[in-house]
Amino acid sequence: MSEIHHRTTLPIDQRPRVLEMLGIDKVFNGNVTALKGMNLRVNEGDFISLLGPSGCGKSTALRLISGLMSPTTGRILWEGGKSRGDIGVVFQEPTLMPWATVARNVYLPFRLRGQSYASVRDEIHEALDLVGLAKFPDAYPRELSGGMKMRVSIARALVTNPRLILMDEPFGALDEITRQKLNNDLLRLKAEIGCTVIFVTHSVFESVFLSDRIVVMAARPGRVVEELQIDEPYPRDLAFRTSPEYAAYSQKVSAALMTAMGELV
């Protein structure tokens, strides 16, 4: 019996809301406008990519959602409650505790809730299984490759079966081959557990391959300029990567990104 709850993903127009960002502005030090008038509705089962040049406020958006900072104006509404829901996060760096084993790293979210290791052992092992690390619970992070560290980070993000997983350029520091492999695995994971993901990237191809919605953003001030849907059924595989549809979507998204960057290009 599996421990991590598996949700089914509804068609894109029938999904219930998870959260909504309403008219969000974020101004740093009274002069740097990192985000201006951002609206975003996140539905259960969405795979949303925030795509844009660096400095357009993608990370800021995630930090606002995760509650690490609060918006200067605007509100973030969480469905079914005033407070932020249970979330998982993956940063660009694996961000593992070097002194703890893989299993102990994945245990962290439970530990901070005061749950004993024994009571969540099954969840931890299933999460490691899902990311393909079932054989390495006792390894230390330094013994793992960059891609494997990232997998531990992903296992930690999904082990509590959160309502929403935030990923900030998680594969940006990896080589292309590892990156593609992790992209494939991420989609397989998504199909298996039906999690909701907001994924930050500056790769057009990555965003097209992974998402069902792409939010294109521009900088100075950081803002949303376009939202595109990728109406392509999951699971997506190598066939999709080489299909004419993929090429067409990539072209469309690239064009939107070019327009967003305007005269700067």
């Binding site: 690490l68 979330i87 996060v89 760096e93 961000t95 002194w99 703890a100 962290l108």
Partner: protein, 294 residues
Amino acid sequence: MSVQNETDSGIGHPPLTEAMVWDAEEARRARARQIEAVARWLVPVLVVFLTLFIWDRFVVVNEIPHFILPSPGRIWQQLVADRALLGASLIITLRITLMALAVAVVGGVILAILFTQSRFAELVFFPYAVILQVTPIVSIAPLIFIYVQDATARVLICAWIVAFFPILSNTTLGLKSVDHNLRDLFTIYGANRWQRLIHLQLPSALPYFLGGLRIAGGLALIGAIVAEYVVGSGGAGSGLAFRILEASYRLNIPRMFAALTLIAVVGVTIFALTGLLSHLLLRKWHESAIRREA
């Protein structure tokens, strides 16, 4: 390797297979590792023996009298002859050093935790820590001997003052050197202060603390010795430092050397033990404990 492989595979030579090349390479590395492991111990030991040998020859050839410079053998004889006296002093010096180190560890770590938990506490206490650190212990010691009556406590306080600062400053630095992404992660998962300290800050600070401990171990010994020198023939004067002073008044040069040897042995032992502790605690995960081949 592979280029050689192609040119070598002429008549008469069986072609080198991938596996054989790999094995040869592996074997070479294994040999290098073995040699390295032995050399790590052997070289320092040989250097010490060589030094002792040259010292001995120097003394014998030049017929230097033992009350000017005793030979290593003469020092050893003195050590054996004075073993009861010097052994008792050794235990006293050792006890002071270890107690000072223990108090420095406890005090330094607690103060460091306090500093990182409260900015106010840091502002209040840090100046005192610095003043104690920068003021030479020989200039504070006479005051301590006026105000503190207990003989052991006097020396202990001196040794502690010298030893605690590296623990304090290193641990404080370590507690503040937490990976900022991990800090964010703890915030997102709703960690409280206590959880953050136990599960994040203290493990992050461990390598820094151990670095401080290695310095403090040596300093605790220096503090104990210096304090005893300053106290001179006072009540606590029966440690190794006092034996050196006493022997110098009596021009018993071999005994001075014997006591000095014991002090050096204590210092080296402390250094080795703190190094071993550091290795045992960090070998699984910390960069400093990872050995890579050049």
